[in-house]
Structures are given as structure tokens and as C-alpha cells.
Amino acid sequence: MVTVNIDGKNVEVLEETSILKAAESAGIWIPTLCYSELFEPYGVCRLCTVEVIRGKRSRLVTSCNYPVREGLTVLTNSDKVKWIRKLIMELTYSRWPNVPVVKDMAAALGVSEPRFKSLEQDLAPDACILCGNCVNICRDVVKASVLSFEGIGIGRKVVLPYNEQSETCIVCGACAQVCPTGHIKIKSLEKERGALQDWYLGPKTAINIPTLQAVPRVPIIDEKSCIKMQTGGCGVCSTYCEPEAINYEAKDEEIEIEVGQILITTGYQTIDLKQMSQYGYGRLDDVYSSLEFEHMLNSTGPTGGTILCKDGSEPRAVGIVHCIGSRDENFHKYCSRVCCMYALKFAHLVKDRTPAEVYQFYIDMRAFGKGYEEFYKRLLDEGVNMIRGKVAEISEGYLNNGDKPYLNIKCEDTLIGKFREIPVDMVILCPAIEPQFDASNIKKIFSISQSPDKFFLERHPKLDPVSTMTDGVFIAGCAQGPKDIPDSVAQASAAAARILSLISLGEVAVDPIKAEVMDEYCSGCRMCNSLCPYSAISFQEEKKISYINDMLCKGCGTCVSACPASAIIGKGFTDKQILAELEGILSV
């Protein structure tokens, strides 16, 4: 620790701290214009000049980067210091009179009218005052070094390379944030870096909590827009995290766990609505997928639960369209089972929260579950317009006074046998549920099979819907097919029960079908060794014969038929048995 006398007060501070920081800790204000905590002080505005006395020599130094030394006396307000600050301020003020930061500082230092007029005067309120903050943060903290100074002397100014949008700029916005006069502006580019999470309906900072109801509710770092990940710079979040919980090097690790049973509940994904251009998803404003609308309804969502169009106005009419991509020749023939009910829930909530008119476009209302039909009846009473028919197209329509365009839903109302066009402000599409895009990989890994609609195939549709052909691998939930939450929960419990039953047994009943080598017949040709996919057959050097480890053997019998000396018996399917069968079936 070093003690320093500032304006008569003795202040004790760490080594290497600057006078400015020491004075601040003692509550003494020193004016600064180009100082910033985030990088090494640049010391160019010279406003922080103070008088330093060591031994008999006194001199003026900038306090922002002068390291404190033992036995230093500092005068932050001597006449000389006041005179110097006033004059420097006069210079700066005469060049940039309308910049708020400069105007306030000039007022604070008692500089009213500069005695001279700068020939390079810049009257813009957001003029660049050459403080160099943007250049320094871009070079030292963000480490992208995009901005730099050009020219020397009075002609010095901050430039982008070749004055064009630079490739290395990662649009982190640090320069705009640190610029004291707002000279640097960030405008949206056609290709956004750090992709906006479109269906979270809002821009994201690089480190964010997805939603307040996220489980677990902890911040995550979006790799694409995080400066530290991109260029190794910044790292500001780790300075503010007291428990120092941020580890930038943490990468996904693959951990291997030995398990007895595997339950596959990989769930589903919704169909990509952009394929169906007739509904205008992604092209027209206010056409939402059900998941986006669900997020909007959520109180922690971007709109805090209120239903708003993209431009912030309340919708006057809302259209909810069922079976988008389900029960559809071109996409999925199967019914996604859950859409009708959540669509009704949407209709009820819209009715509840807004005075808007609600139109529901369905093919068949499948309210199959317990209490579902009653809910449907209730909605009819609440005045939801139910239109039985497929929606042909959603397009933009313009009222005569030409303000906000509305959405025009063209559909066929099969109950009254007419084509209708319904004007609404917002449309919600209920996308089909389809297996995850990488379902075929999962199938290969666990050697289970898929049904024609690509969901995983259960061992038996009626009697054993949660287990698969492969022992020890179970499936549950939408991975096995579209279903709603009650069904998924039921299946999950069933699968868990099956697994627990095996686990509680303590040992696993290995099915008897195995292969075995008869020592006397085996000639040690080792043909079968490389054959076995489970490498269950190994060679006994001392006896010069192969033997089968019956824990590993799955009993497929490939080795039995391949053995030239038929020295391997396939228990359960011995040659004799099969030949006897053969004889039997051909004898008649």
C-alpha cells in the first residue's frame, strides 16, 4: 500500500493505482473527458491535469495514468491547475461548442465564452471529440482493431479501414456504447451477426437468460455474438460475476456412462412453416407459429403476456388455422393429435385477454380427451367463430385509407358450401408435429427401427408400446408418435416402471439362445473369431481352440452356419431342430 497526500488529505491506496483513482477513493472530483475504466487510460484530453510535488520539483501531470508513488503530494485544485484546465477546456469548447458532454464540462469548469474561434469548429451535437475511446476499446478489449486514427495534427480523425464497413467488425456495439458524444451509430445490417432469435421475438445480448421460466434459470452465452468467443477480447462479464462462475473454456464434453437400460424420449419438432409459402409465415408480419404465440402469451415473454401485433397495436381479429402440414398429402398424412386442443386454448385466451374476434379454421375438431368436448362447447358459447374448412391462402389486404395492411384469410367453409375471405390482424398457424430431423441417426445408434412416419417403432402397438425390438431400449412420448401431455406422461411412467422392474430384479435374465463351441470338433481355424459383431468369440492360445463368451453372445447364429466343421451349436436353433422343422413342413 502507498500513502499519498492529496489536497492535504492522506490517502492510502494500492501500488500502481493512478492519482485519479486515489483521489476518487478520497471523494475528490477530477474532471475527465476521455477516461474509461475498460482499457488503459489514453491521457489525451489532459483535463485531469494535477500538480504533483516530489522533493522540491513541482510539475503538472495527467492524473489518469500517473502511478501513485510513496511521499507524493498532489494538488488537484491549485491556481495553476485551475488555469490550465480552464484554458484546455476553452480550446475544446471552441472547437465543439454543441457537444453536450463538452458543454457540461465547460460549465463545470466555469468556461463560458472562448476568447478565440477555432477554424475547425464543428457545430454538430454529436461531433467526434477525438477522445480515442472507440479506437482503444476496439483494439485492446474487443481485439478486432477495426477503428483507427488517420492523419496527424489538426487533421486527425477516426476512420474505418477504407471508410467502408469492415469484414472484421463483429458488430458488438462496444464503440457506440463507449463513445461519449454518440457520434458512432449502429445501424442494422442486411446479414445480422449474432443471429436474432426470431422466435423469441426480440434481440438478445450475448449473455442472456432465455426466459424467466427457463429450467434451470441460469444465463447462457450465445457463442456467435460473444466477443470473448469470437476474438478472445472483452471478458467484461467475468469481471462483474462475484462468484466467478464464468468459464469461457468450458466446452461440450462427451461422457461415457455404463447403463443397463436406455429410455429414448427425444420428442418432436414442428414442421418448417416457411415451406408453405401460401400461409406467408416469415414473409408477412403477424403470422405466428403456435410456439411463438405460446411464447407471447407467457408472462415472462417479450410482450409480458399481452397479445400484440408486431407494430405494438392490439389485434382486432385473430385467425387460428389447424392442420398445417398434418393430415396433408404433401407433408404428413398422420394427424398431429394435439393441435385442436391447444388451438381452442389459444382462442379462449385471446377472447379472455382482448376484445378481438376469433376465427378457428379446422377440418375435424378432435376433442377426444377427458373434459375436452365440454371445453369445446364452452368456447362455442363464448362466441368463437368455428369455420370448418381448409385455408387456401393468407395474403395482405389494404383498406381504403391505406394505413396498416390487414391479413386476408381465403378459405372454403364446407358447412355453408361457400368460399369466404376473412380479414384479420393476426394469424396463428398450428404446425404439424414431426420426428426430430436426426431421428434416423438415433435409430442407427440404438439399432431400433422406425415406423413409416419416421417415429420410432414400438415392439408392439397395442401390447408393448414403450419398449422396442432391442432389449433394454425403451421409447416414450412424441418420439413414438404425436401425443399430448397426459399421454406422454402416461407413457413415460410406463417406460420408467418397465425399467425399474428390470433394475429391481438385480440380475438380468439373459435369454437362453446362445452359441457354444464343442471343443472336440473345433479345429482352431479361427474363422468365426472375426465374424462375430459382438467379438464374443476369442481364441484360447493354450488349447488352440475358439470359445464363446456367453455373456456377450446374442445368439444370432451367424457363426453357427459359418463354421466349416459345424463345431458351434446354436442353442435353441440347432441344426437338428431346423432340419427337423424343414422335414416337417415339407412332408405334407
Binding site: P67, S118, E120, I152
Partner: protein, 608 residues
């Protein structure tokens, strides 16, 4: 091949510009013709210093000094001097109109009062031959240091010698080396600052051109004392000949094993990289120079942590000027006591106590003998200007002498008895600086000169810190107003206030010294400023906007036989008059550009 005579042809930049290379070829051709090429050898040497009378050739061993040679003079000279052995008076140095020419170089007063340490080999050796440098005792100081002395011993010798930085700061070299030595760190750098950005200064250039090995040997000794193995020479790209000779010298030194690994068989390792400066004056400042070497733009940084602790690539770095390095070998060879016998003050206890050794000045301006002079510290300005410099041209009266380049100050005539050393010059507000010394006579306007120097430093300001960037521009605007007659008396107070502010609060030495010319000219020549401000007149007629141009009837040649040179030259058509009659200038239209004055051969234009 025993030569009996050597023709030492000067090959400094000044003389080369005046075709001294052609003269060398002419000599060789002529000697060939006269079959004397085996007896007489032609040697190109570094700059002799007397650039005002180049091209120069000195015949040795006779010591005869020939000046202002032309290719056409060569046959006569060879015939007379080399064949008949009769020195040719026509080409000798003539001190004044009526005085006899002085044959011997030693007797010419330009050389008599000089004492050569840094320039001891100038004119005597061919800088591109290392053998000649060694012949005159070169690298023996290094041998002595490496084998007979310890690094501390070398350091102590330099400290005791009282040698101070020749770059302008005058910081005691011994103290600097000692601090550098104490700082830990395996990667340590030694830099030679040959940027020499001052306009009109060519000391470092001549030292490198005449004796590059002296600098290399000095750096080797310094590196040995401070434990560094990496050296840089930061040299201006605008010095092609010096750059060329430095490259040859380092090459030869490397070939001779004087640079590289285990020099003289010891485990001392040192090599020099040459970095070329791109001509920014600010890069003469140490931290800006280091930023430039590191490839970053040349911007100085605060020196609250000295570069000897954290310099190039954040490692300890010792930067010294060319002349400082060139002095080191002699100090080691002849010992500190010899060095302290030259110069002023007493440095036994306090290294700041005096200015020891010699200083090279580039004496230019309105002096008769312009050139490079190396004089012992403590010599008075009067001796330099009048004895060495041969007084003022065309017998005019001296007004002031400006020392220290564009950041130096004006010293009035009344102070010419001032002994030249660091402390005396700083006391009167000027500074030793790099060694530029510009003499001005009564025809020079101090305000105009101050404006010229300030324009230079303002243009070269890197613009990083507000006081220097904005302050110098405002000062320049005020000076401009004064020189066009729009200045007021308050302007002078404001000018002084701004100058003090820029000196006190600028980040680096450029800003810190740029106002010196203004401050000293205000201090010693305030009356001239007042004339400019009050009477809107410029006594020296240098500030043209303040002049009134009229044509003197009697002198004007148009009367009688017609000549309208001035009429044709005037851009504003302000001069009227019928042919064969006296012309007159219409004061309304005249923009006082002074073209007519320059053109009139009959001096008929009168300026008040």
C-alpha cells in the same frame, strides 16, 4: 602500392550534391592520363564539415585545402600541384576579399577552433572501409571494454565522464545506463536515434556518413555495459547516403565478427537491425520512435514509467542519440578524466553539474562559413559565429541566433557571450536541442521566423493530445493574423498564455518545446511584435502583407527606353503606366505579393 599523396575528396551529402563524385572521376581519369595512378590515390571521405564551400578536396600529406572545385579545374590542378608540386592559389580558401588565400586546412579559422571527438575521423578515412577505421584505433575501445573492463567498470567510466545526451534532452548518459542496468529482464534493447527530424540539422547525418563504425562501436560498448544483445538504429529514409554507409558498415562489422555471436571470442552477443523512419518529426521522440519500430503509428505515450524500465516491446530499452554513441569509444579509450578536461562545470558529485566534452552544431543561416562544427562545451556563441562562422554575410548586423532546431529559442545579440552548454541555454529559454544553430541578421523578421518554426511543429504534431493539437493551431492563427496586420495587443497576452499552457500540459516533448520560438521571441523581441501590432509594419519587410510597395521615379528604367518587367509580373494588374513613362502602383489593387520587387533589376521598387 606505396602512394605518396592522397586526394581526400569529400563525399558528404552536401558535396555529393555539388557533383563531388564527378570530380573524383575526373581526378582518376586525369591521373590515369598522367600515369600517376600508382603514386597518387583518390579517397572519398565523409563530410569535412565546411559544406558552405563544397565540393572540397584536401591533398594529404601536404594538408592543402581546395574548395568550390569544378570538373573543369581538375586538369590544371593535377598539372600544377601533383606534377609540378605547386599548390594552386585560385582554388584555395579566401577568408575575405583582400586577404591572401590560406593553403593549409589547419590554418583556416573554420577548422582551427574546432575540437573533434565524434567527428575525429572525418575527412581522414574512407567510411566504407572498416580497415581504415581500425587503422585509426577503431574497435580497440571495444576490445579494451570486453577484455580488460567489467560492464560495471565501463558504466562507471561513462558516469564519471559526465557525458550527457546529445539528442537535446541532456540527460546524463551514465545515470540512464545505470537505471537500465538495474532493471531485470532478459530481453533488453539498445537504440540509436538517427531520426534527426529538425529541418536544417545534419549533424547525425554527417557523423554516420563520415564514421559509421564509431556509432556501431559505441552501441557495442553500451550494450556490453547494459547487458543487451539487440540493437536498433532508427534512421531517416531521407538520408540515402548515410543509410547506405550504415548498411555497409554493419555488414563489414558482421563479416569481421564484431557483430553477432561471441565477439572477440567472449560470450558477448550483439547485433544491430536498421529500421528506417518514414519522416515523421514526432518519431524523433523516444516513445513514438519505439511505437514506430513496433509497427504501430508513431504516437508518443506518457513517460511516467521511463523507457529504461518499460520501452520497446515493454522491455527495458536505452535510447541515445547518434552523437552520444559516437563519443563513447573515445571516453573508454582515453578515460573519463580526459573527457572531463573538456567542457564546463564539475561532474564529480552531481552528473547534472556541468556539460562535458564537445557538441556538434550545424551552423547555418546568414553566416559566411556555413557547415558542421564540433566545438568544446563552454565556447561562446560569439566565437562560433564570428571566429568559426566568419561573421555575418555581406557585413550585415546580427539580430539573433536560434539554437535547438524548431523547438529551440531565439538568443538576442546582447547575449552572444553566453557560453554554450545545456544549462546556460535552457536558462535563457532556448535549449541545446539537436544542435541546429541558425543565425539571423537585421533583414530577418523574428515574428516571421517564429511563425515558420511554429508552422513546422504544428504540422508535425501527431494530434493525439488536445493542448498540442488545438493549442499550436490557435497560436499559429494568431501569428498569421499578426503578420497580415490583423493582430491586437491582447493577442500577444493570449499568445503567451497559450504558449505556456502548451508547454506545461502537452503529453510529449514536441508539444512541450514547440512554443519555445514564440516565447523567446516575445521575451527578447517584444518591440518587434508591438511594431507589427500597433503600426502594422514589418521592419524587416519580411511580412509582405504589411509592406507598401511604390515605384521610385528616378530609378525606374521605363523612363527613356521602356521596360515593363514589373507590370508583366504583377498578378493583380495593379501596375499602370504608358510605355516609356514611369509606372506607378495602384495601392487599392496591390495585394502586396512582392513579385514586382523580386523582378525589378534596377531596385526601383521601394518598400516602407
Amino acid at each position: 602500392m606505396a602512394y605518396r599523396t592522397y586526394l581526400m575528396v569529400c563525399a558528404g551529402t552536401g558535396c555529393v550534391a555539388n557533383q563531388s563524385m564527378k570530380i573524383k572521376e575526373a581526378f582518376e581519369k586525369e591521373l590515369e592520363k598522367r600515369k600517376l595512378q600508382n603514386e597518387v590515390s583518390v579517397v572519398t571521405t565523409g563530410c569535412n564539415g565546411f559544406c558552405g564551400v563544397g565540393p572540397i578536396m584536401v591533398v594529404q600529406p601536404d594538408g592543402i585545402f581546395y574548395q568550390l572545385l569544378k570538373v573543369s579545374d581538375i586538369p590544371l590542378l593535377v598539372e600544377e600541384h601533383l606534377i609540378k608540386g605547386r599548390p594552386v592559389k585560385k582554388f584555395m580558401y579566401i577568408p575575405g576579399e583582400k586577404e591572401p588565400p590560406i593553403p593549409k586546412m589547419r590554418d583556416i579559422d573554420f577548422f582551427k577552433k574546432q575540437m573533434l571527438i565524434a567527428l575525429r575521423n572525418r575527412g581522414l578515412i574512407d567510411p566504407e572501409k572498416i580497415e581504415e577505421y581500425i587503422a585509426r584505433g577503431g574497435y580497440s575501445a571495444l576490445a579494451k571494454a570486453l577484455t580488460e573492463m567489467t560492464p560495471d567498470g565501463v558504466l562507471d567510466e561513462i558516469k564519471k565522464s559526465g557525458l550527457r545526451g546529445r539528442g537535446g534532452g541532456g540527460f546524463p548518459t551514465g545515470v540512464k545506463w545505470e537505471t537500465m542496468r538495474k532493471v531485470p529482464g532478459d530481453k533488453r534493447y539498445v537504440i540509436c536515434n538517427a531520426d534527426e527530424g529538425d529541418p536544417g540539422a545534419f549533424m547525425d547525418r554527417s557523423i554516420i556518413e563520415s564514421d559509421p563504425h564509431a556509432v556501431i562501436e559505441g552501441m557495442l560498448i553500451g550494450a556490453y555495459a547494459m547487458g543487451s544483445s539487440d540493437g536498433y538504429v532508427y534512421i531517416r529514409n531521407e538520408y540515402p547516403i548515410a543509410l547506405e554507409r550504415l548498411k555497409k558498415a554493419t555488414g563489414q562489422a558482421r563479416e569481421f565478427g564484431l557483430l553477432g555471436e561471441n565477439i572477440f571470442g567472449t560470450d558477448f552477443k550483439f547485433d544491430i537491425k536498421i529500421t528506417r523512419g518514414a519522416g515523421a518529426f514526432v518519431c524523433g521522440e523516444s516513445t513514438a520512435l519505439m511505437a514506430s519500430i513496433e509497427g504501430r503509428p508513431g504516437e508518443p505515450r506518457a513517460k511516467y514509467i521511463h523507457t529504461v524500465e518499460k520501452g520497446l516491446y515493454d522491455s527495458p530499452t536505452c535510447l541515445n542519440n547518434v552523437e552520444t554513441w559516437a563519443n563513447v569509444p573515445q571516453i573508454i579509450l582515453k578515460g573519463a578524466k580526459w573527457f572531463t578536461s573538456i567542457g564546463t562545470g564539475d561532474v564529480t558529485h552531481d552528473p547534472w553539474g556541468g556539460s562535458k566534452g564537445t557538441k556538434v552544431f550545424s551552423l547555418t543561416g546568414k553566416v559566411v562559413n556555413t557547415g558542421l562544427v564540433e566545438v568544446p562545451m563552454g565556447i561562446t556563441l560569439k566565437e562560433i559565429i564570428f571566429d568559426i562562422g566568419g561573421g555575418i554575410k555581406d557585413g550585415k548586423r546580427i539580430k539573433t541566433v536560434q539554437t535547438g532546431g524548431p523547438s529551440g529559442g531565439f538568443i538576442p545579440e546582447s547575449m552572444l557571450d553566453l557560453p554554450v552548454d545545456y544549462d546556460e541555454l535552457t536558462k535563457v529559454g532556448s535549449m541545446m536541442g539537436s544542435g541546429g544553430m541558425i543565425v539571423a541578421d537585421e533583414d530577418n523578421c523574428v515574428v516571421d521566423m517564429a511563425k515558420y518554426f511554429l508552422t513546422f511543429t504544428q504540422e508535425e504534431s501527431c494530434g493525439k493530445c488536445t493542448p498540442c493539437r488545438e493549442g499550436t493551431k490557435r497560436m499559429l492563427d494568431i501569428l498569421e493574423n499578426i503578420t497580415v496586420g490583423k493582430g491586437t495587443e491582447e493577442d500577444l497576452e493570449l499568445l503567451e498564455e497559450l504558449s505556456n499552457m502548451v508547454v506545461e500540459s502537452s503529453l510529449c516533448a514536441l508539444g512541450g518545446s514547440a512554443p519555445n520560438p514564440v516565447l523567446t521571441s516575445l521575451k527578447y523581441f517584444r518591440d518587434e511584435y508591438l511594431v507589427h501590432v500597433r503600426d502594422k509594419k514589418c521592419p524587416a519587410h519580411a511580412c509582405r502583407q504589411l509592406n507598401v510597395y511604390t515605384i521610385e521615379e528616378e530609378k525606374c528604367a521605363t523612363v527613356g527606353h521602356g521596360c515593363d518587367m514589373c507590370k508583366k509580373s504583377c498578378p493583380d494588374y495593379a501596375i499602370m503606366g504608358e510605355p516609356k513613362k514611369a509606372h506607378y502602383i495602384d495601392q487599392m489593387k496591390c495585394h502586396k505579393c512582392g513579385a514586382c520587387f523580386d523582378v525589378c533589376n534596377f531596385k526601383a521598387i521601394k518598400i516602407e
